[in-house]
Symmetry: C2
Subunit: 146 residues, 2 copies
DNA sequence: CCGTTTTCTTGAACCTGTCAAGAAAACACT
DNA sequence: AGTGTTTTCTTGACAGGTTCAAGAAAACGG
């Protein structure tokens, strides 16, 4: 768990100005993994009630560009953010409730980064998403989505 | 390349009614891999100028549910559709222009379907996306996205 | 402390995709 | 073919998440 001073150093280390919205956004992403933008706005406003949603969007973009947080967006879902960066883990997404959990990479370092044929692309990242049902949804499946 | 009669049989085989919008949508997806909805609407309207966008959306949903086409949606992109289904291939996405190319699965059947720890989820599909720059963009990178 | 640069606020707009009601078309059966 | 039922298409409005734009405010370097 990182403290305010850590966040401040992270921002400065990334060449970003230290502002209260950014501090709060960074804290919110660290405290709530896989939160969507709306949830982050809610969390941030508990600390800074007057922040605009635009400030949160800008902060998230800046933090993402600085690689302090990672943006994930499974198909059919809104953007979500997480603080685990650089450890090459993957995600498992619930088809029913949209919940996301982390899955550590089975193979080791950069497992699937080697495409069989890169089609001439210069690949810098491999993303793996598992799709299924979370424990809660597979236990008592909701009747919709027939 | 499939012909009109093939499309008709595909629809009937999937238990779907054969309508002109669906035939045209199916043809458009087969002819234009990885096209987004807007492009598909444009292609379909070259053949049927009066189709509503809603009909295209409905057709795409019906075809997707029937597994005749596959919907793909990399993060930050709109929905795209492709006709290769059931052969477990992956995609490489250009960070700059958003272009998508197919990549055959290196490992074989269902390669990464085995998560190291499934977190209690019942996983039914593994999705792999490679991110990088396409040949055109890595050759002459556009100046934006600084 | 001051000036410059970046960031935040405010407010509106955009775009993909969805919802709803009625008209039209496709299929099954005779 | 003709008819009736069911599904699908048209039309039009709407929704949510995200972005754009202009000016005010805050952060940083000297």
């Amino acid at each position: 768990m990182a403290a305010a001073l850590d966040f401040q150093q992270m921002l400065r280390g990334a060449g970003l100005r230290v502002t209260r919205p950014r501090m709060a956004v960074l804290g919110a992403v660290f405290a709530h993994a896989h939160a969507d933008t709306d949830s982050i706005i809610g969390v941030v406003r508990r600390e800074l009630p007057e922040v605009s949603h635009q400030a949160v969007y800008d902060s998230l973009h800046a933090l993402t560009a600085a690689r302090l947080v990672r943006r994930i967006q499974p198909a059919g879902s809104v953007a979500r953010y997480e603080s685990r960066v650089g450890d090459n883990h993957h995600h498992v997404v619930c088809r029913s409730c949209g919940d996301i959990a982390d899955v550590d990479c089975a193979v080791g370092e950069a497992p699937c980064l080697t495409a069989s044929d890169d089609r001439g692309y210069s690949i810098d990242e491999a993303e793996v998403n598992y799709w299924g049902l979370c424990p809660a949804c597979s236990a008592g499946p909701v009747p919709d989505r027939a």
